[in-house]
Symmetry: D2
Subunit: 423 residues, 4 copies
């Protein structure tokens, strides 16, 4: 086992850890707390993305009331000696797994429309929760019976620190989006409307900011401009790519000397899109990483976003039921080549299908969020309809979920749903 | 070999075929020309989607000047005895292949921004063409050297006839989109702007309409309301799903008595999204289909779009280089959870990457349109950025396209590009 | 479609074909009837291995009485210009398929112990037959219900002509084996004993010899020493490798000027080992091949047997039930690291297992011979027991064949079995 | 993490562990040291199969001089409450991995012909050793450069205790084999000949016997008849099946009340056949197992050997170079349907091939023993030649090992080989 270079204690408060504390903002000046040479291998541990707010119980109010200002709790930054802007930082994910003897479960949540929302929040406005058992890599849930499969573990979030210039670019463009929305909500496609609607972006805030080992005076100032960790951006970040599992190699753009790499937000398994938002099987975990550098890699390879080579450790599935969606909203409004809407419709088709097999809609939503479904951009040019497909692996179910069976009327219980949506 | 129930002659004009003529509009009243019982297996042949307008030569003007009013040339309609609205028509694709002794090549085109446009038309405004050899299922192109792979053949277009009611719904919602665009072009996300911009939708037109065996008098009237075949819709249609290859089983919603199933627009291979628009390897082909019915299947399975179970005949790839994109436009504009833009950016990353290996941008575009790349809806909830990924299979190349190689300066020629964009 | 360079007529006698006749012996002097340059692509057609002796009916006596002196009916020889001894002939299998409009079925047979025998002939001494429908690549049989799968088509037999020297080496070593057996039957491991036992090898014979376009006078003399086509040898030959399907590339050693390549004995699908002997789904078929040469390839690559790179066209299976066998005979005799016996035992385990699902033993045998089971040399060093495994793909069955189901008592009929074993 | 029910200390002597000691014989009376109910999940740890005799250094004499009387060191027995003879014990392998912080390497050895021997001992009579680094599941070796891959971890050995009756059957048949060999060495096929030849079987011996928690007086007596753990037998045992990796479910026959299940001999990776004998990447490891029972499963499923369903966690490979072998010995002797010899020849072809890429023969041997090569029983009926194939995954190499490259003259060093074969 490689040396544990960043260690967490799931029983301690997330902001009062025995060693270096996790941090939760992107800023070039957050000091590195781990040092690595090219060629080094080390273990990094990370808390779950809520820092322990969701526990193994049957209380969905924990999801409804989750404090989203502090997320995520990242491991790092790691300074890689010799890394310079323009390089690519090569990161091999040699192994990952649960912090077994310290945190033995995962959770999936539907956020309340009043707090977080999500892809299908207008269909599922109330918070809900399911708890998942981790048997090695095999996952199952008392809240979603008859589903049991080998998960595809991965970090939802990983990337290098932005430069000051890049950070300002992020802030500027996201502020501009919020302004557009404030001026004319209808100008923002794909956003649910209504009083409790989730924000279109999360601007910098000092509230809940954890700036790592930064000097407290500087930290306050930096937090005022530091980027939130919710969205993925061109450095990677919270991209929630389910395929970054064991054996993958990622090349991350470097923007500051030493790269200042960090990661976190592990998922025992996730479907493409992470459509439940808090939607993968969220967990605390470790990862063994090996670092290397590609000097001037961004120019040499012509990229300014991460690229990666997926591993070969599966799980592999062969048999799928696949659903189609096009860019027409549920209300019948025709959108122009809108892949987001197309994937929504494919997801809703899959949910309605699963309801014919005895699941509730919320259960079906949690299935799509956790099972490694393949969400594909199948067609993007046939005006006006984009076509997205969602492929559901049959092997994740302990019964035959094929169309030939014409469904099943077995009662399969439910996830835990909040009855009082306002908390 | 099953009986050829719909035969084409690639050397005859597309609208003057020896047997029943192909048709190119969706309308409930177009008469069936083939009859099938549940359980029947038959062979259907189809012209390429342009009806032979693009030939095996080095002239890209054929693509620039293509007549888009007549596309596509569909085989059918097939009346399946006993099919009723609400049923699902089960269609097994037992085999497909080129009309070998009659049409032995495929083509890929970049449409002119003045005629068709496409996903990246503002980056590649000029028409271009590449010709592909079909060696069995193995494809290669003199215009894109050092790429050679086993393709994933499939019909780009398949579905049952709409009911009159569904047809009107289509027409209404697409007209509404065109009106919105006419009033305020900026309200339509993802649409390129400029004088020569492609239309946001294609309304019914009698021009170029082929109404099959319909009585000429009725045909003219029907054509005025018949839906164009360009977009996919909830019946399937032109969904361009690369995974519908040999061995797949599709369940199509039935809207009219007898189902009136049709298909066409075959591709020797395609990448997810078909980003070149005329973008797969377009070809004339045959398919052997087996029909069956699931009575009341739409209600029993809770679906009103096609669902399918993919086959197992590959080709399978294991090694990929994967590119990421987020919903920020190339100009730096922040979009809200816009998967279309995210996939554009991932595609552009891949194109820039391939340029480091000696390809031109147009060649790279044709590679992404034809190689079975996996385009994934990786993240759709992390506001404001959707994340899409594009996974390029290394096995499609005859050299090592891995990041480790740091590119190659080999000259790899070019596709044929129009020098005069206006024709 | 490439030019048909070797054509067959399944309705004509196998030795009186319209063009060049198939041949059935290996000899350096059989003249080439097709010529190819390196880089050429062509179509070759071949009769089924019995030349049409087994027909689509319910008469198993055709298998019992099959004339084995004439098999197999090979397409070729093909002279590849420039090929010299020591080269490797590179052959790409671009496409294959049934001669659809001329022969639309396949067959599987259990040979009689009196005529041919086979791997499990002491368990299944009577001849039996099953007829298989070919729906594209999907196969099924009225004699083996509830089994339906996409097959893995391949030529059972392919290779270049031996040199005179190699031919003599073959004859010498096989004669020596027969002599050993004649002197002391017990010295020959793995051979069934009894009066009707099949021969341990098939020596040259002029009976039934088809020497292609050889001068009749020379042919008679050559047939006296020409090698039979039953066994595979270091040139390839009848190696019955199920993985040589569409998209594969094989490098065959060249022993004579021009290589004189030939192939035949196509199978719509086969399990590893072809344990029924006449055991794959036997069929007439075509193959599109592309030839190339690797000069001095045998020395450069250090090989003197064929090597190959399998294609990627599947079918792929993910879910298996796997059976184990060790080198102890059914009678309890301990053998020393005997993989043949180990695979026998694994096969018998699988047969007994399938009998719990309603199949007869003969049906189970035909399933193992035709479904692409994986037969593995799992352990070969743990004295005294070799371990072989047989992995049965669940996806080949239309019901759940998992252990969890504990079998099924459904009556599934039977293959056609000869009642009078002597004919 | 499940409770550790059997714990080992790799720094303590293998027969003086802190808790229950490993055992190394099969006997029904060895007492269970772990108890489980059906449905229970637990972690079992095991020493490497030599109990620490081979260390991470460059001394191959450790392999030459290894004491084979004590192997293997098994974890267990586990008594599963309610298990009765005739049941099947269902064992799910939920997770496995190295004892990371306690043993961080693996080893591969070629046994000396004087001590252990092996599949190709007449070609490689001298002992040799390679040491492998375990980076998570990714393995590499300073002794075999340019090979690096994700391994397929598995226990080489697992099974339930035999009944007294079954034990006697084993002893009887293996004794009979030794007697046959003593009387007439030539009657034993596949055995190397010469003064230093390894034994054909290993009879019971009290020397080195570890009888677990058995009373010392009874243990001595039991050891005189207890079966050695070297060979696999119908209970499973040392079957060395590389496919029993994470996610697999095995059904083991039960012969005694409580089943008395045990396992050990973990491999970080192995090729089919484990042709180096000490040939996989040998390691100490843990496994998380879940137990369940199928009452009367042997009769219900018609099996009396283990059956299993492989997991889906890969690694998966798509591109192979495959080698063929037939049942003719290297000396040109024709064998009758001898799959062992066929696999030998395929292995030797692969070794000669790898030598063209700069490896020594011993390195090539270690590659075939450790990389998950697929060893197939391709043909077993075409008298007199069986055909076996060995498929080498290209993805295990850090360079292109395709035939197209025509080899490489790079110097790749060597494994450590003993210079004095006698010690």
């Amino acid at each position: 086992m490689p040396e544990v270079a960043f260690e967490v204690d799931v029983d301690a408060p997330p902001d009062d850890q025995p060693g270096a504390n996790p941090f939760n903002r992107w800023h070039p000046d957050i000091p590195a707390v781990v040092e690595a040479d090219p060629g080094d291998t080390m273990r990094l541990e990370a808390l779950d993305w809520t820092g322990g707010q969701i526990r193994d119980n049957d209380d969905a109010n924990e999801v409804r009331d989750v404090d989203l200002s502090q997320v995520h709790y990242l491991a790092g930054p790691v300074e890689v000696n010799g890394a310079e802007p323009g390089d690519l930082l090569k990161v091999e994910f040699l192994d990952m797994g649960p912090l077994n003897d310290r945190a033995e479960f995962g959770f999936t949540g539907t956020f309340s429309q009043q707090n977080g929302g999500g892809f299908l929040t207008d269909h599922f406005p109330n918070a809900a929760k399911s708890i998942w058992d981790l048997d090695g890599y095999t996952v199952s849930s008392r809240h979603v019976p008859d589903v049991r499969y080998e998960g595809k573990i991965h970090p939802g979030l990983a990337g290098c620190a932005p430069s000051q210039e890049l950070l300002e670019e992020w802030n500027e463009r996201e502020r501009e989006l919020m302004e557009r929305h404030a001026e004319d909500p209808d100008s923002i496609q794909n956003h649910p409307t209504g009083e409790a609607e989730p924000p279109v972006a999360n601007p910098p805030t000092t509230e809940g900011a954890l700036m790592g080992e930064m000097d407290p005076d500087e930290a306050e100032e930096a937090a005022e401009e530091a980027a939130r960790t919710v969205p993925p951006r061109e450095h990677g970040g919270n991209h929630d790519i389910k395929d970054l599992s064991i054996g993958s190699t990622v090349y991350f753009p470097v923007y500051v000397d030493g790269a200042k790499f960090a990661l976190g937000d592990f998922h025992a398994s996730q479907g493409d899109g992470e459509i439940t938002f808090c939607g993968a099987i969220e967990m605390a975990a470790y990862v063994d990483v090996k670092f290397d550098l590609v000097e001037d890699g961004m120019e040499k390879l012509g990229v300014d976003h991460p690229i990666f080579e997926p591993g070969h450790r599966g799980p592999t599935f062969e048999d799928y039921v696949t659903f189609c969606g096009y860019s027409v909203t549920e209300d019948g409004e025709q959108r122009y080549l809108d892949s987001h809407t197309a994937y929504r419709r494919a997801s809703l088709q899959a949910i309605d299908y699963l309801k014919q097999f005895g699941y509730t809609g919320q259960q079906a939503l949690h299935i799509l969020g956790t099972v490694p479904v393949e969400g594909r951009q199948s067609g993007v040019v046939d005006v006006p309809n984009a076509c997205s497909t969602l492929a559901l692996p049959k092997g994740a179910f302990e019964f035959d979920v094929s169309p030939e069976t014409l469904g099943s009327d077995k009662d399969r219980g439910d996830v835990v749903v909040t009855d009082d949506p306002l908390g």
